[in-house]
Structure formats: C-alpha cells, structure tokens
Amino acid sequence: MTNKKLMESFNRIRLEPERAEQIWLRVESAYSAAEHPTVTRRKKLLRIALIAALLSVFFITTAYAVSGIMRSTGTYPMTHDEEYRSLRDLPEAEKILGYPVTVLESLGDYCFLRMRIGGEAVFDENNAVLQPYYGLHVQYEAPGRKPLFLDLAPVLELPESSGKPEPTETRISDGAELRYSRDHYKFVPEDYQKTAEDLAAEAAGHFYISFGSDAIEECELEFVGFVLDGVNYVLMDQNGDGAEALFQMAQEVIAARHEEGGN
C-alpha cells in the first residue's frame, strides 16, 4: 500500500459541483423552514436584547464614555445562549454567568416568566470588543400589563467613565444607591436617519434612539438601577408604574440578597 494509492482511492469519492450546488440549496431551504416558526419569538428576544443593550449603556457605571470617546454595548456571540423557564435553573445559570445573582419569583404584582443568558460586550468607537460578558435578562408578567424586565450584568473593570446621563432621582436603600430614570425611547430600523427633531430631543436629554428594530416604535420607559455584590441590576417598567413602585421592587431584591448572605 502506498500513500499515492490511498490518495487515488479517496479521489474516487467526489462531489460534483452541480451536486454540491443542489445540496447547498437544500441546506438553505431546510434552514429557512426550520427557522420560520421561531421568527416571532426571535424578534421578541431581539427587542429584549435591544433594550438590554440600552440598559447596559446607561446603567453600567463604567461603560458609557471615557475622555469623550463613545462606547457602546450590544449582543456578542459567546458559547452560551440559554433560556430558562424556572428559577430552579438559577444555579446552572450562575455557573455560566460567573457571578452570583438574586432573582425573585415575584416583584410587586409581577411574577417570574422566564430568563435568558446571552453574550454581550462593550465595544469601543471602532466596534472593537473591549470586554465581553454574560448578561441575564429576566422577564416578569402580570395580567393585563406589559412585561417587566430585570437585567443583570457584571460591573466591568474598565476605566472610570465620564459624561454618564444623570438619573431623574436617586435614593439610598440598605447602603445601595438606587438610580431612577424616566426616559423616552425610539426604536428604529438600522437604516434610519435621525431627524432634526431627534437631534434636538437627544440634546435635551432623556430621549434615546435604538437602532435595529423592524419598524419605528416609541415608548416611555422607567428604570431603576443599582449595584449589588459587583453586579448591576436594572429594573425596566413599560406601564408607567412610577418611581415609588420601582424603588419598592428594588428594595425587595436588595433585602433578598442580604438574606442570602450578600453584602
């Protein structure tokens, strides 16, 4: 037996170009057919991811701007992209996240629905990755109301930022600073061009544009952000519940964290 003979034998097995092209068409067709039923769900997840990216920009204390250089955050492909329907899976989620989290079954009138782990990163102005991390996005539901979101991400070890937007109101609770904001959000497609009104509203503050949605959609969002044991927690409400309701929910999380033995 010679190597040449072995090469000749393997050469007998050949995928002709026209067959290869037909297989590729079948691949595309099979992939599209498999993906189609989940398009709606994926869009919902994308919307959540968009909001999460915004939250990261404005609440992760070191991820906004340094010396006038803008940073951004966004989704980033990493090994894990998991969704859980039960809090019994929280220990497994924590192993992936690499940091401890406190997630409650209920917050105010809302009940836990699901949570998702996904890769995210802070990018510099050239879209180079400064720091990747796993974020946890928890969705709560209440009858007749829009979902409530709790988003968690590690406090990143990046140089101290400047120019971070000021919260509407702050409060201290059990040693944690709670930062409340009520902002107007405009979700737009990737190819959207900002109008003069957009630019004026951005300059006036508490008006943000997020690129990547299918259609233009605007809403008022309320946030409370705080840091617990090196983790950023951000609650986001779309129902206009008001600052007091969000402060109360934040305090429930903080109290539970302290009961679990956190600092």
Binding site: M1, N3, K5, L6, M7, S9, F10, R12, I13, R14, L15, E16, R19, A20, I23, W24, R26, V27, A30, Y31, A34, E35, Y76, P77, M78, T79, H80, I96, L97, G98, G119, A121, V129, P132, Y133, Y134
Partner: protein, 164 residues
C-alpha cells in the same frame, strides 16, 4: 467565564465551498453511498447555520464541522439500521457512485474511529498534532489510530493482491 468566540467575517456559503468536498468524502467513508452522504453533508451545514458561524478560529470551525458530521453519520447509521433501509428505496434519483477498489473497500471496512484520522492525514495532509486539535483527541491517540488503520489496510492489501 468561557472564552468568547470571535465574529466570523465570512459567509456560511464560503465555508461550504471550502469544506464540502472534504466533508462529503468523510461522510462517504461512513455511509458508503452518495445519497446518505449528501444527506449528512446537508444536515451538517444546517446545524452550522443554526450555530451562526461562531468559532474561535479556522481550526475550531473545521474541527467542529468534522465532529458534527461524524456524529450525524453515526446517528444516521443507527437510524438506518433500525429502519432496515436499503439503497433500493432511493429509486427517485440515481446518483453516480465511485468505482471502489480493494483499498477503498478496506477503508470503508475500517472501524469508524480510524477513518477520519486516516483521511485527514493521508489525503488532506494534516499533521498528527493538527488532527488531534481538530478532533479533540490526544496526539498519541491519533498516532495509535493511524498505526492501526495502516496495519489493517496493509493486511487487507496483502490478502487481495489481485485487486492492486
């Protein structure tokens, strides 16, 4: 936290064009007919698309494709054996099959775990260390499998001198 994966700049079709021939040959050594080999290749790239092109580097990508393909082939063989399917069922399409010689028949008869290292080493020209990286195996395991594959092929070769 796990090591993050780099963003792949190229399209899935580029990867398909680069690896389809290699993967088809590997699939053929398992499935021994063009129909099932094509099916395995198709399923492999459907999974590749679902994964979204997230690989640390080219070697990671290639290794993932080979391991995924061989897993698909094994699953198909198990399923095929349960269904007692035969080639006669593929009556709607006639695909050309390669003319097999004694050596290729001997390759087909090798244990599955020997086939891929043999093909990657002798046909694709990869070094043992590269193959070990792609298949996530210790270098010595790859060396052992190559040696056993060679011995088995040599024995087969000597037993069928008329086919040479």
């Amino acid at each position: 936290m796990d090591k993050p994966l780099t963003r792949s700049g190229r399209s899935a079709r580029d990867a398909y064009l680069e690896y389809a021939q290699m993967l088809y040959r590997i699939a053929y050594t398992y499935m021994k007919n063009p129909y099932d080999s094509e099916d395995a290749l198709q399923e492999c790239f459907v999974r590749y698309l679902r994964r979204g092109g997230r690989f640390a580097d080219a070697q990671h990508e290639k290794g993932w494709l080979i391991l995924t393909l061989t897993n698909i082939c094994r699953d198909q063989l198990k399923s095929k054996s349960r269904r007692h399917e035969s080639l006669e069922e593929h009556t709607e399409l006639s695909l050309p099959e390669p003319e097999t010689d004694a050596l290729l028949s001997a390759v087909f008869a090798l244990p599955e775990r020997y086939k891929v290292p043999l093909y990657l080493y002798y046909y694709e020209g990869y070094a043992v260390k590269e193959i070990a990286g792609m298949l996530r195996l210790p270098v010595n395991t790859v060396k052992t499998r190559l040696a056993r594959a060679r011995n088995q092929l040599k024995n087969e070769w000597e037993e069928n001198p008329n086919d040479q």
